[in-house]
């Protein structure tokens, strides 16, 4: 450690005791949990994060019970415990729940709890967004899980391949999957935005980019991956739902579609998703290992390489799920090469952990036990991964139990074990109590033995030729004993999980509090006194080291006595610091919103749209969507871009920071840009679909009457939207110069032009008589046009909002967050519009 010479240091004298107590009282009041039934209006990370994690864990238990049903059915040949149809529902819901309702949400929920603590922040920058994400997740999750009780669950496997799911499954099951998970993915993207902005902009002063905890690197990478991986699935789900509900033939070969497109879009999500699950879990290990080796991590830079490198390479693997679809050998070889290359960064981080353990003096503990068990299991899964990454081997193993064994080794070793390690490690931070060492050990051995007993034999079941997803098998094919062993193992595994669950929920009233920092860790999340207060950190410290608790003298005392930043809440408001991306130089004191039911209301009304849509109740669904827009409008109106009562505030150590910043300096602007980036990726997926159809057809766009939307209307639309965009920019300028008249004219003009532009883009396919149900070409043209029109319409909402804000005095020349964000949004609108027009009007010309 080597503090920068001009860093501000905490004052040498102790602040008066009365002052400290008064500050603590004010902080406590500002961060108080709402009481009674209002408790559910809480938005603070310590509440929302815990609900989120607990709910994800409940879904995990539900998925686990389904797994046991699968194993009972397969225990003996020709079993009739489950019917074929019921079995299809059970394995589909098992896979979907584990992936979408456990693995991804639990990464985000754990990060929501601990990221602010590791960053010495009082909360993440958008607490209400986290709460909104949570309520979306609960609603969507219950909807999906509930379906199996009514015999209405999806049956297509967790990857829902058409045409099975488009032509042969008439019930609402597939619709539930498509709409329910699209809804939950919105929640996942919301959380990703929160985590990215949190990591980049809400670090404690002095925590330069070379000092941030490794967990934050991993979370940053995984959250960025969510932005690029989820939108293709949302786009794919939209295509499949349009086919199911409105007969647009995206996957129907008779009318020019192609089921293979679904596989591309699904796995473009599905493979990175495996790493989105894995990286944040291994991140927990990266925090546990240094603590129990009692030394800094070995190879910090190498681990950053591993996290970032895996994040990229994992996007070059998707076709390895499609090795048997008849793509050219050269394509398979490219993906096989990337699949082998990704083993390099994955291995690097494991060597770093082993080196850290070897270089330190390992303290034996339950979290460490799970860590080592998880790494060993994961390595086995990684090795079979290298095997199936070879196309020639995969041809043999594809769709057999070998793959089932492989993926469970990877996911349980790489994710479930580390998460349980994290439970045992982080639990004291929730309520000051430890989980039981004894129960932890018993559960560990049950889990490890049960897991291997279940899944090791599956390699052989698979190599002997047993396909996955069959509901039964005849006796005497060499599967009998192996399956029985797997079933016995599954119950041991289940017993282990039950013990962990009991350890978490058992009453701990009489158990003593643990001492502060019970594991003698070095990072900031271990600062709180036990039990922790809901304010998070008493004063926000100046950081000089990767392990401040080990290396900065008097650190805990200085934090506790409020010698660092923001030790007080003078105005009774919730506040945290915003800092710069590279060096974490403080730039703003950010006011955070308090408890509110609005996020939950927004989630319920938006959920209404998706859930009613599942049953094709389009009118009520649209009403629900309008209500959602109204609720979100109100949320933004009262809760965001609030003009502070004074421009600046003294935050301690002689530092004065502004309370309001706009444009790229504000966290809200970042959130808009990052969210729109995800939306843009979904749009790119649709453009990809257009060109995918071009490659598979000799005649695309087809000649003749289905010739296309023409050139005139699309070009008119692009011109109108460009003008609307330019007027939006002008409105921002007029607002900054405080010219109310020009501002009003510009913003009203922009809105009118945008409406006209949206109408013009639809006029193209409309007036040329394109029928989206006749062939895939009109369908994809219509979809691109609709997508653009929807952007324009949303852009008009932004215009209306800014107009109203200025009229109400909530936006001024200096306080211009709203119009800045509207401009950021409009950059994406115009990009989308120009690309759409180039594709639907321009491409038929060059063809």
């Amino acid at each position: 450690m080597n503090p920068a010479p001009n860093d501000p240091e905490p004052p040498a004298h102790t602040p008066p005791l009365e002052l400290q107590r008064a500050q603590e009282d004010r902080l406590r009041r500002a961060w108080q949990k709402p009481a009674g039934w209002r408790y559910w209006s809480a938005v603070n990370n310590t509440e929302v994060g815990v609900w989120y994690t607990a709910t994800a864990f409940l879904f995990f238990l539900f998925g686990g019970v389904l797994a046991l049903l699968i194993r009972i059915q397969l225990a003996v040949p020709d079993n009739d415990f489950l019917s074929a149809d019921r079995y299809n529902q059970v394995f589909t819901v098992h896979g979907s729940v584990m992936m979408f309702l456990f693995a991804i949400p639990v990464f985000e929920s754990i990060a929501v709890i601990f990221l602010p603590q590791m960053l010495g922040a009082r909360d993440l920058p958008f607490p209400r967004l986290s709460a909104f994400g949570y309520w979306c997740f609960v609603l969507g999750g219950i909807f999906l899980c509930g379906s199996i009780l009514f015999d209405a669950a999806p049956r297509g496997g967790w990857f829902m391949y058409p045409p099975l799911t488009s032509k042969y499954q008439p019930g609402v099951g597939a619709d539930m999957w498509l709409l329910g998970f699209s809804f939950i993915e919105i929640a996942a993207i919301a959380a990703a935005v929160e985590l990215i902005v949190g990591t980049l902009k809400c670090r404690p002063p002095g925590m330069r980019i070379n000092l941030i905890p490794l967990y934050c690197w991993y979370v940053l990478v995984a959250a960025a991956m969510v932005l690029f991986a989820f939108p293709p699935l949302i786009a794919g789900s939209m295509l499949l739902e349009l086919e199911r509900a409105f007969h647009w033939p995206f996957f129907d070969p008779v009318r020019g579609g192609d089921p293979l497109l679904w596989q591309h879009l699904f796995w473009l999500f599905g493979h990175p998703e495996v790493y989105i699950i894995f990286l944040p879990s291994i991140a927990i290990i990266a925090m546990i290992v240094p603590t129990f080796a009692q030394r800094p991590i070995v190879g910090y830079g190498w681990i950053v390489l591993a996290a970032v490198g895996t994040g990229f390479l994992s996007f070059g693997l998707w076709v390895h799920h499609m090795f048997t679809t008849g793509l050219p050998g050269i394509s398979l070889a490219l993906f096989s090469a990337a699949s082998e290359a990704v083993a390099i960064p994955t291995g690097v981080q494991i060597f770093c952990f082993i080196a850290t353990i070897a270089a330190g003096r390992m303290v034996r503990s339950v979290p460490m036990l799970y860590t080592l068990g998880g790494l060993a299991t994961f390595i086995l899964g990684g090795l079979t991964g290298v095997m199936v990454a070879l196309a020639s081997f995969d041809f043999q193993a594809h769709d057999t139990f070998f793959v089932v064994a492989h993926l469970h080794y990877v996911l349980i070793g790489g994710s479930v074990f580390p998460i349980i390690a994290g439970c045992y490690y982080f639990f004291p931070l929730l309520n000051g109590k430890k989980l039981s060492d004894r129960l932890g050990r018993i559960a560990f051995w049950l889990l490890l033995a049960g897991f291997n007993l279940t899944f090791l034999p599956m390699h052989f079941t698979g190599l002997r030729g047993m396909p996955r997803r069959v509901f039964t098998y005849p006796a005497g094919m060499g599967f009998d004993l192996l399956n029985l062993v797997s079933t016995i193992g599954a119950f041991l595994l289940g017993a282990g999980v039950a013990i962990v669950a009991w350890d978490i929920i058992r009453p701990k009233k009489r158990q003593p509090l643990v001492p502060r920092n019970p594991w003698r860790a070095g990072t900031l999340e271990w600062l709180p006194a036990m039990p922790p207060e809901s304010w998070g950190v008493r004063s926000i410290p100046e950081i000089d080291s990767r392990y401040p608790l080990w290396e900065q003298p008097n650190f805990v005392r200085d934090v506790d006595e409020g010698r660092f930043y923001l030790p007080d809440a003078e105005e009774g408001k919730r506040e945290t610091l915003v800092t710069s991306v590279i060096d974490a130089t403080p730039t703003q004191c950010l006011r955070l919103p308090g408890p509110s039911f609005v996020p939950a209301l927004a989630a319920v009304s938006l959920g209404g749209f998706f859930i009613l849509g599942t049953f094709y109740l389009w009118i009520p669904a649209l009403v629900s969507l309008v209500i959602a827009i109204g609720v979100i409008w109100r949320w933004l109106w009262n809760g965001t871009a609030v003009i502070p009562e004074k421009p600046e505030k003294e935050i301690g150590l002689g530092l004065t920071l502004p309370l309001y910043r706009s444009g790229p300096e504000s966290v809200g602007w970042w959130a808009v840009v990052i969210t729109m980036l995800a939306v843009f990726v979904a749009f790119v997926s649709l453009v990809f679909a257009y060109f995918f159809y071009w490659t598979i057809h000799d005649d695309f766009p087809p000649a003749g009457s289905q010739g296309g939307p023409g050139v005139f209307w699309p070009c008119l639309a692009a011109t109108l939207l460009l003008a609307a965009w330019a007027l939006t920019l002008l409105a921002r300028r007029a607002n900054r110069r405080d010219r109310a008249g020009v501002f009003s004219l510009a913003i009203i003009g922009a809105a009118l032009l945008a409406l006209a532009g949206g109408a013009a883009i639809l006029a193209g396919p409309w007036l040329t008589g394109l029928d989206p149900t006749s062939h895939v070409y009109p369908a994809i043209v219509w979809l691109l046009a609709l997508w653009t029109a929807l952007h324009a319409a949303t852009g008009v909402l932004f215009h209306a909002y800014c107009f109203a804000r200025r009229a109400a005095g909530r936006m001024t020349a200096r306080h211009d967050i709203d119009i800045q964000n509207a401009v950021a949004f409009w950059h994406f609108v115009i990009l989308t519009a120009v690309i759409t027009v180039a594709v639907i009007a321009g491409f038929p010309l060059v063809k």
Binding site: N2, I209, Y300, G301, S331, A333, L334
Partner: protein, 126 residues
């Protein structure tokens, strides 16, 4: 020297230049091969033009990655400092970002070479 180490001159984007080049190389190779085999060649047709194109992409990608990696390595070697670059100074932050850039360049180069090896072995669209 301090001025050149100002936070404003540093960027996280430089860290991901090399992996982005890998991604472009990968995508370009895949798209070239896919379009050639779908549109221009029968299943057993030769992919000679594809092989030449991918060879050209590979040279371009390796040059770009090499430049980015060398740049990173030079930043890592700034002054007389050793790993782990964990001091709270602009110099160590600068060295750390350089080091991570160089490592990522190395990994990206390996991944590009892996991908390029595919065209060494494949001669037609089967």
């Amino acid at each position: 020297m301090m001025k050149s180490l100002s936070e404003n001159r540093e960027s996280l984007w430089r860290l991901i230049v090399s992996p982005s080049v890998w991604a472009l190389h990968f995508l370009a190779s895949y798209v070239t091969a896919a379009i050639w085999c779908a549109k221009f060649a029968p299943a057993s047709g030769s992919i000679a033009p594809v092989r030449w194109l991918i060879a050209a992409y590979t040279v371009a990608a390796l040059l770009a990655i090499g430049w980015n990696g060398w740049n990173g390595y030079r930043r890592h070697r700034l002054g007389a400092a050793e790993l782990p670059h964990d001091a709270d100074t602009p110099e160590d932050r600068h060295r750390f970002l350089g080091f991570a850039t160089a490592l990522l360049a190395g990994l990206s180069a390996i991944a590009v070479i892996f991908a390029a090896m595919a065209v060494v072995y494949f001669q037609d669209c089967r």
